[in-house]
Each structure stands twice: as C-alpha cells, then as structure tokens.
C-alpha cells in the first residue's frame, strides 16, 4: 500500500532524474560554446593568433625563470651557454628574456608557407624605443602597417639578416621576413611578417582567431593550470610536414595532443593525446602501459628514479589517453652528475 509520503518521495526522486537528464540532454544536443566557459585567467593573447593554428603554446616566462628548477638546470646543464644566448638575444632585440617578459603565447601554422608560419605574442615590460633602435642598428627597417610601427628584418641581402642569422639557428628568421610590433603597451608580437600583420588586423577589427576556435579552446581549457602548455593537432602537423615514411607509419593515430607542465621545485606535467577512435586509444594505452611496466622493472635498483617512475600515471577515458608525471628536482641533479662536463676553457655553443 503506497502512502502519500512514499508517493511524494517517488515524485521528488523522479523529478530530480527528469530535470537532470533533461538538462543534460539539452546541453548535449544544443551545446554551449566552449569560449563561454573560457577561464578569465587564460591568455587574452589568443585573440591575436589566427584561428587555424595547428600548434599553440603558452609559457609563464617570469615564473619559470625564477623557479628553483631552472636554477638547478643552469647549474647542472651549462648555465654559461644559456646566459650567452640570452645576452646575444638582448643585444639584438633589447629584450631581456629573464626579466622583461611576463608570459608568451605562441602559435605555429603547419599549413602556412615554410618559414613564415610562426608567431609569438609576449606580454611584459618593454622599452619600445630601445628595442626599435637596437634592431635598426642591426639592419632592420621600420614600416607602417595600419598605424602600427612594424620593425621588419628581411631575410636576404641586408645586414639585419646577417646579424640575426649569426644569432643561432633557432632564433634565425627563415623566410621571407621577420617582424616585430608593439600591439599595445606591454604587448609585443614577433614572428613572420604576414602573421604579425594579421595580429595587427585582429587587434584593430577583431574577427576569427584562436580564441574563437571552440575546438582549440576546449582543448586548452581541458589542460587548465600549469605555467607552460602546448596544444596541437598531430594529424595536421603530420600531414603538412614531410616526415620520413618510416616515422610517419610508426606514429599512433592521434588527432589532438596536449602537454601542460608546472615548473617550480620540480616538474609536474601531464601529456594528453586524443586518438582517432576508442580502439586506437585502447591500443595506445596498452603500448604506454607496457612501457611503464618496463620502466618500473628497469629502475627497481635505482632509488633516485623511484619517485619519478611511481609518479607516472596512465589515465584517460574513451578516445583520450593521458600520462601524468612528476619529475623531482633531485632527478635533474642526478642526471647532471652523470652528464659529461665540457673541458675547462672550451667555448660553449650558444643555445
């Protein structure tokens, strides 16, 4: 015999179920733009990157530079070489990487013409006049683009190219030209001229950017936190870059991948990969699980690696595979102690 009390209970319970499932169903079918939930603390600079970027990254430069881990790395792995490289960059651009830059957001478009597909937006404290003067001193010239001063370094045939090419392979602007502009006070964009001009366009008129790319934003949002992260489309990178066939065939069928790290006393990181389907994800998980088991076996007699190995956590559901890790600073000390030291007095290559 069902009493009124029981009836009310059943109604209340079913109501919770129906309202909950109904709301979930509506959210599932209608969906909400990922940008609507975008973390306010996330970089605004995404607004200046083109929407079709195949790789987007973020680095909290000042925090990482001041971290204990970085100091240990400098001690253990050629701090002098790093200092030289930083000084050389400062002489050429007037930017002190260690103190001037707060954070950098960078993007790479695998579909763009080779050498002109990268853009970085840095926020910090910059001396515009000094930077411009230094770059001009090294052969750069200033152009006007929609009211913004564009400091351009052409690739061939001018002194700037020679100077910048001497700086080292990684910093060398490849093709066809490298530009730098101050989008707004404390915000500098540098990279290929075409992309820097596009950033100026986006700043002036808005439009489709990385910040309006829901797919990209939802993947960035999924990483949440950390002082360095990278999100990218491995399938796009693979299709646009000419990888050797033997390498391309070995790569797992991953669409999106992500990395996020928290650098402080050590490195806590998580690598995520989104496989093409559930089956590929399961296969990938099995492969990683096998490697983890092997790593555990190999390091049983090495206590300095134990914390790191124990921290390796495989996770993920459906098509997502994730691997979390925690690298303590002591591990870098241990690695530093086994690395061969350069002979005293031998010049180190700037990096």
């Amino acid at each position: 015999m069902v009493t009124a009390k029981t009836r009310y209970f059943v109604i209340a319970s079913l109501l919770v179920m129906f309202v909950g499932l109904g709301t979930g169903l509506v959210a599932f079918y209608v969906g909400f733009p990922a940008t609507a939930f975008f973390n306010k603390n996330s970089p605004d600079e995404l607004r200046y990157l083109p929407s079709g970027m195949s790789l987007v990254g973020y680095v909290e430069v000042r925090e990482i530079m001041a971290s204990d881990l970085r100091q240990r790395l400098r001690q253990n792995f050629g701090g002098e070489a790093q200092d030289n490289g930083r000084k050389q960059f400062q002489e050429l651009t007037g930017i002190n990487f260690e103190t001037d830059i707060e954070h950098i957001v960078g993007g790479f478009d695998a579909g763009g013409p080779a050498g002109s597909n990268g853009l970085a937006i840095a926020r910090g404290v910059f001396d515009n006049v000094k930077i411009e003067a230094l770059m001009q001193e090294h052969g750069a010239h200033v152009q006007d683009y929609k009211g913004k001063r564009l400091v351009v370094v052409d690739r061939f045939g001018d002194a700037a190219a020679t100077n910048f090419n001497n700086f080292g392979a990684e910093a060398r602007p490849a093709d066809p030209s490298f530009a730098l502009t101050f989008i707004e006070p404390g915000l500098v964009a540098f990279g290929s001229t075409a992309l820097v001009q596009h950033a100026i366009d986006l700043h002036a008129t808005g439009g489709e950017s990385a910040a309006t790319n829901d797919d990209l934003v939802s993947h960035i949002r999924a990483l949440e936190g950390g002082n360095a992260w990278v999100v990218g489309r491995l399938d796009v990178l693979r299709s646009k870059t000419k990888l050797p066939e033997i390498v391309a065939n070995q790569l797992p069928p991953i669409t999106w991948f992500g990395f996020r790290g928290q650098v402080d006393g050590g490195l806590q990181a998580r690598v995520t990969a989104e496989a093409r389907d559930d089956e590929s994800a399961t296969m990938l998980r099995d492969v990683v699980r096998g490697f983890l088991a092997l790593a555990k076996l190999q390091t049983t007699s090495k206590p300095e690696f134990q914390h790191f190995i124990q921290s390796l956590q495989l996770g993920g559901t459906g098509t997502t595979v994730s691997l979390s890790l925690d690298v303590p600073a002591q591990l870098f000390d241990a690695l530093g102690s086994v690395m061969p030291k350069p002979p005293v007095g031998q010049p180190q290559t700037p990096q």
Partner: protein, 273 residues
Amino acid sequence: MTKPGVLASAVRVFDFSFGQMLWSRRSVFLALLVGAPMAIAVAVRLVAMTTGLPVINGAGLSGPTLFGILIWLLFVRFIVPVLGVFYGTSLIADEVDDKTITYLFTRPVPRAAVLLGKYFSYLACVVLLVLPSVVVVYFLIVPIGGHIGEAFPSLLADLGMLLAGLASYGALFAFVGAQLKRPLIVGLVFAFGWESTVLLIPGYLKRLSVAYYLQALVPHAMPQDASAISALLQVFQEFPSVMSSLICLTAITVGALWLAGRAVETREYVLEQ
C-alpha cells in the same frame, strides 16, 4: 479458487513492501550512503569556487575527472556492493528474524512471488535514491572545468551501469539470504573479500565475480595510486566487452533470482523460539 500467478503476486507484495522498506530503519543507513557523495560534491564545489581544485602530478583536477573518481571509488567499489549485501540478504532473512515469514507464506501466493516482490521493492528503493544522487553529484562537480553536455553520454552510461550493478548484486545476495543462515557475513566476505581478491589474480577466477563485469561498464578510467594493489590491478587489468558484460550481468541477475525463488519454495525456515 485459483492461485494467482507469480508476477501478479509479486506486484502485490511489491505494493506493500516498497513503502515498508523505504521508511525502515535501514533507510537511514541508505540515506547516509547516498548523502555522502552529495556532501562531498558540495564541499568540492565550495573549494573550487574559493581556491580552485588542486593540481595533482601537474594535472589540474577537473570536474569530469573527479566525477569519474567518485563513481569508481564511492559508487562502484563501495555503495553498490554494500547496498546489495545489506538489502539483498535481508529480503527473506529479516522476515525470518522477525518471525513474520509465516504470515507471508500462509497467503495464497507462490512463495517465490514473495521474494520477487521484495526484490523489486529493493530495486525501486535503491534506484530511486542512488540514481538521483549521482545526477546531483554530476551537476555539482562536472561543470568545474568541464561541460555538462560533453560528459552527458558518460552520465547515461554511469546510470545504466549502476542500475545493472544494483540489480545483479541485489539478486545475488537475495539468493544468499534465501539460502544461508548467516547471509550478511557471507555477503560481506564475498563483496569485500572474494571480489577484491580475484580481481588481483591473473587467470579466469575473476570471471566468478560481479565486479569483473560491472567494471567493464564504467565509462571512466580506473583511478590509480602508488599502492601495490593499484599496480597489480593495472597489470592484470582485463575488461570483457560491454556486450558480454551486459549478458553476464543479466544472466547473474536472472539466474540468482531463479535460484533464490527455488530456495524459498523448497527450504523449510525454522523460526527460533
């Protein structure tokens, strides 16, 4: 006068035992069990609103991840087996202990219908409490860094999995309750001794557990820690397919109910004076 059929009789038994079961003292325990995840979810929500969720191994703990952990650790590994043991074993055992089984068995209904009606009451009771609790936890936790629409299919899978688990464990322990004299002890040993152990042993032994099939239906990754048990689970982890899990759980439920019905029909219950 013809005896009514088993199903019709079971409905009559369900009718009076549902309210009785819902408002029994045991329901306080049930309310605490399903209230705990909701309290945890409220606490997590408050923490997320004030300081944000903690970062573990460099990974920001997002709402959907935390929801998956709660489903695994609280619901799959604890609440569902516990409810199955406490309610399932008591379906007949309580009537024996209270010496009221005679009144039920003297009614002109098949004895198996008494068990079946009580089993359906148990199922309605726990389903109406556990599933809304999961929905509330979902809406409290998943929006923290997640999206309710994106994770909705996994919620449906969770609800289906919990329903299957409650039905299977309930049926199995209803049989244990109908067959054995000290069903609660046997049930607890099975749920938290046997099931936990066989999952760690390589080979076919794990197929003799409900958890093996139930865990294959969980749409979230199994949480891992640095313990030896977690490492063993990771190494010997082997999940049957969803379809075979569903078939096996259905077989366990139907088989256990049939056996329980047979036990009730044939067993002589001696009431202690």
